[in-house]
Amino acid sequence: MAMFIRVDFDASLQGDADLKRRLVEVCPVDIFALDGDTLTTVDANLDECTLCDLCIDAAGERVRVVKLYE
């Protein structure tokens, strides 16, 4: 269970295969993964988020990084 970071994304992302692939590629700590065609987040890696914003650069407001300590 992540203690510090939660990553939310819009359900609409599931319909964009290219963007899903990009999210998996850009995250340096492998928070995003594809389970078949379904985009998911890897719970064990959420707290490793470096707040680099590469996912936000890729998907804009459709991805939100939430700091649970704020």
């Binding site: 203690m3 510090f4 700590v29 064990a44 707290d47 490793e48 470096t50 707040l51 300590y69 704020e70």
Partner: protein, 399 residues
Amino acid sequence: MRLYEYEAKQMLAKHGVALPKRTLARTAEEAEVGARELGGATVLKSQVLSGGRMKAGGVLFADTPDEARAAAARILALAINGQQPAGVLVEERRDIAQEYYVAVTWDARAKRPVIVFSDMGGIDIEEVAQTHPAHVSRTHFSNLRPLSDYVAKLAVARTGVTGNDLAPLTRIVLNLARIFVQYDLTLAEINPLAKLADGSFIALDSHMDMEEEARGGQRALLGELGIADADTRQARPPTPFEVEGARVDAADTRGVAGRVVEFDGNMGLVIGAGGGSLTLFDAVRSAGGRPANYCEIGGNPSVAKAAALTKLVLSKPGVERIAVMMNVVSNTRADIMARGVIKGCIDAGRDPARTIAIFRIPGSWEKEGAKILARYGVEYVNRSVSMHEAAQRAVAKMG
């Protein structure tokens, strides 16, 4: 990584430094055979990775092979500073006219290697330096440029050596300096370097330490010396705590959480950053603290790695609190470390606010780190508090 005397002598022999005739014996029977083959009087020396062999009874003399056998049996049964000997070096005994000292080591302040030479060898060089400073020379050289004969000659001549002794001593010093550079040593020492009655010179004892990180690059040499990868050359076997520390470090390639060493104190240390570990460990000791461990964490470890190290330190019986301290860091993020140590505390069933005596990691992402710590009731200490003051505060909280 320390080498045994017999290994150091293998290296000297390979590079043309004269040595007494010798043989390595693993049993008293082998020592007797070796002494018989050498003929005459012998000296038998315990092969341990520790100093103080003579005082501990690890160096004995024998006039006959029978005496050599008895002496070897005594030496092989004798642990010195907790170490069982790897064997007994049986050497011919030589008549000595004069003893010299030569060592090449690294001068951290000068950031260059230095040759230390004395015409008063065989005894503690620090004592000679204090009582007879004119008899000890220190000569720096570059480990990047080719080493010239002149530097070695200068090291010898500075102690007043002249005449027929100058050239042979220069050759030995030059060879030792080249061995030092070529094999990534941190210390190459011959003491005593003996002048015999016939005017020749031989290395009677030698001590060499290799840079631990050089093991990979010096694989060929280690193979020649018969040193296996698993032969760590530590002064004692690692404790289960230290083994687990090495496993934590190896399990995740991100950052470093290494060199975990166990002590018997009550203050766990999660410390690091560019030599900061040593400074902080000393600072805790100076403040009267009793460290439970030493470690080096840095290089931007993952949250998981910092958490695993923290949990390990807290698992040690008697550890009441941990001090999380670093020098000012640019290559390790304070917020990632904050997440890691808090997670480690909680995974260990501890309250971070009561467990973390101090958190001082000034540098990159420190404001974010402070927010995380505040959320869990842990005070963040910034760079306005020196490392020594931070250590004092942590020790004061131990009660």
